[in-house]
Amino acid sequence: MTKKNSSHKSVGFSRRALLQTGAAALGAAAFPLPAIAQTKPFAGVTLRGASFQHRFFTLLQNYIPEFEAQTGMKVDLQLSAFPVYNQQANLELSSGGSAFDFVNVTFILAARWVAAGLLANLDEFTGDPNLTPAGWNPKDFVEGAQVPYRDAKGATYGYSWEGGAMVMGLSRMDLMEKKGLKIPKTFAELQQVCAEINGTDNVNGIVSFQLHHWCLPPYIQGFGGNIFRKPPADIMPTLNSPEAIQAVDYYANLLKNYAPKGVLTYTEDQARQSHMTGRSNIFIHSSAWITPILLSNDSKVKDTSRVVRMPAGPVHDYPAANSQGLGIPKNAKNKKAAWEFIKWALSPEISMRLVKEHGHSSVCRRSVIESEEYRKLNTVNGQDLGALYLEVLGLPAKGENYMAYRTVKEFPIVGDVLNKAFEQVATGQLAAQAAMNAAQEQAVANLRRAGTAL
């Protein structure tokens, strides 16, 4: 009986199974496309993105075929030079274009683009568990790097792919040790070290480059001043405050007395070259420009170099920090596909692969920067560069967002004026007070001419 039943059951099962299999085969033959579409929801989509050329994207391009295979979409990533990209993206976004599905949100343009509503609110994507798994964790991005991509209400319009943290590189610690000098921790000590080292063994005390409105503000803030009264709410320039004048005087003296001739027109490359070859002892700039003294094969001072926090001012210790983010234009045609790409490109997995496989360390995911692998790769001569990078990058989010001056749309106008005023002081054409008084008047006039209500 059991056997019979079993036999019947076996026959019945076989028939039903046969019918089911046949139906499934017919269904699959009749409707093959939906089945494929289910596994690759973005099949047939061409995703267009743009950014300025950067090592991050060059490396990412190696992995993009994997992403294309996973999702079925094709990625057309258009990379241009920094000024070219900014010009083109600004025009595209400002005119409500939909040519790009994702864009780089350039730090200096972030506030303008966010305030003008040119970007899509990414909280709509991160808040939807169907679009963003919990493991992606938006809070894993270093808070200081995310500040520029938020509006006044705290909504997020970009996620950072690169961070820049201002640090100090010393290339000739051997000379400093010979002279009994310690690493400077204050502005006064910085001046003293520059004075002592300058001219010794044909080494310059310090080197810098022509983007003074990036290098100078940490000194202005260090003395207690700022570029604007209280950015981003109050953007009245404060270029002729006593603190700003003191800072301009101080920094101009550093460059006049202890930097190579022609430093005012140096590019970042020239400054890095001077630093890496040991012709200049101190260089204070973003970590990506400083750490090559320890990491680059071209460095001639690997064994005598140190990378540390830049000296603190008498009032504040505000080293500059910035980041670059990825965002989605408001009128993008393929927003979900663009989010899929951003999610993938900035995932912890890809960030870690960039670190491990290519030594690309300027990522913005805290979990990656704090990982053991990252620490191993970025600890050179006993110096934990990752910890230093994380510390500085996170500072603007702790307490006052002192980098806010740089993300307001009025900054480029005031920054240009500041650049010129500083050059006048550093070349001895004007005293700091006269130059900064004139700069203040000029900045206010230029802002009013541009339609800014002060």
Binding site: A50, F52, Q53, H54, R55, Q78, L79, S80, A81, F82, P83, V84, Q87, Q88, L91, S95, G97, A99, P260, G262, T267, E268, D269, Q270, R272, Q273, A288, D298
Partner: protein, 279 residues
Amino acid sequence: MSGGMTGPVRRSASPRRLVAIGVTLIMLLSPFLWLLQMSFKSNDLILQFPPPLIFTPTLQNYASLWQGAFAASFVNSLMSASFSTALALILGVPAAYALSRWAGRGKHALSFAILVTRMAPPIAFTIPFFLFYRWIGLLDTVTGLVLVYTSFNLPLVIWMMQPFFETVPSSLEEAALVDGASTRVVFLQIVLPMVAPGIAATAILCFLYAWNDFFFALILTRTHARTAPVAVVNFMNYEGWEWGKIAAGGSLVMAPVLIFSLAVRRYLVSGLTAGAVKG
């Protein structure tokens, strides 16, 4: 001996004059020579101070240009400059001829109206062009660039060519017409050969305008139709400027204009100076 009778008198230049010519030449050519020597240096050497004048040259910068996207940009530049020059000449030369032979009342008003398009700075046209091109799908295409350059070169051709046509005596055309030649034949076979220097000079100016344009190419292209001048700027990267490639790219950008100008220099000189002295 006979040269003294038939051609200009040949005098040997005094040493002082030779020195003056040499110094002037060095001064005029120094930016170009500096760029050229930079293009054969490695980045390290370029940034060295004081700059070494004797060094082992390298072709690395040129090689890397052609391995990258610069070659495509160079071709884009060649195509947009050549086609726009040809199109401007095809449309502008007959128009200039017609205007030069027209004695009607509206001649000056029409000529002025044609020139008006060159009176505003290019920036005034950029945004309208950008929006219109986006709308009709010509953004980032060589065709789009050709149309822009043609529209800007056309008034130049018409205005430059008119005086050349005016120097051709009408009696020649009348004689040909009496002999049974059609207007087309008169224009193509009699008048055009006589204004060839003018056409060469105009063509060079048109080509130069299109070839050297940066602004329209920057705004109206992305990556597919990017031209050589924009591609050179593309070496100014966020992480550093690629000086060697900038110098090599700059030198290469100069090459076609130099070759073209040398090839037609005889026409260029006579074309640009024609009509300067009336007698």
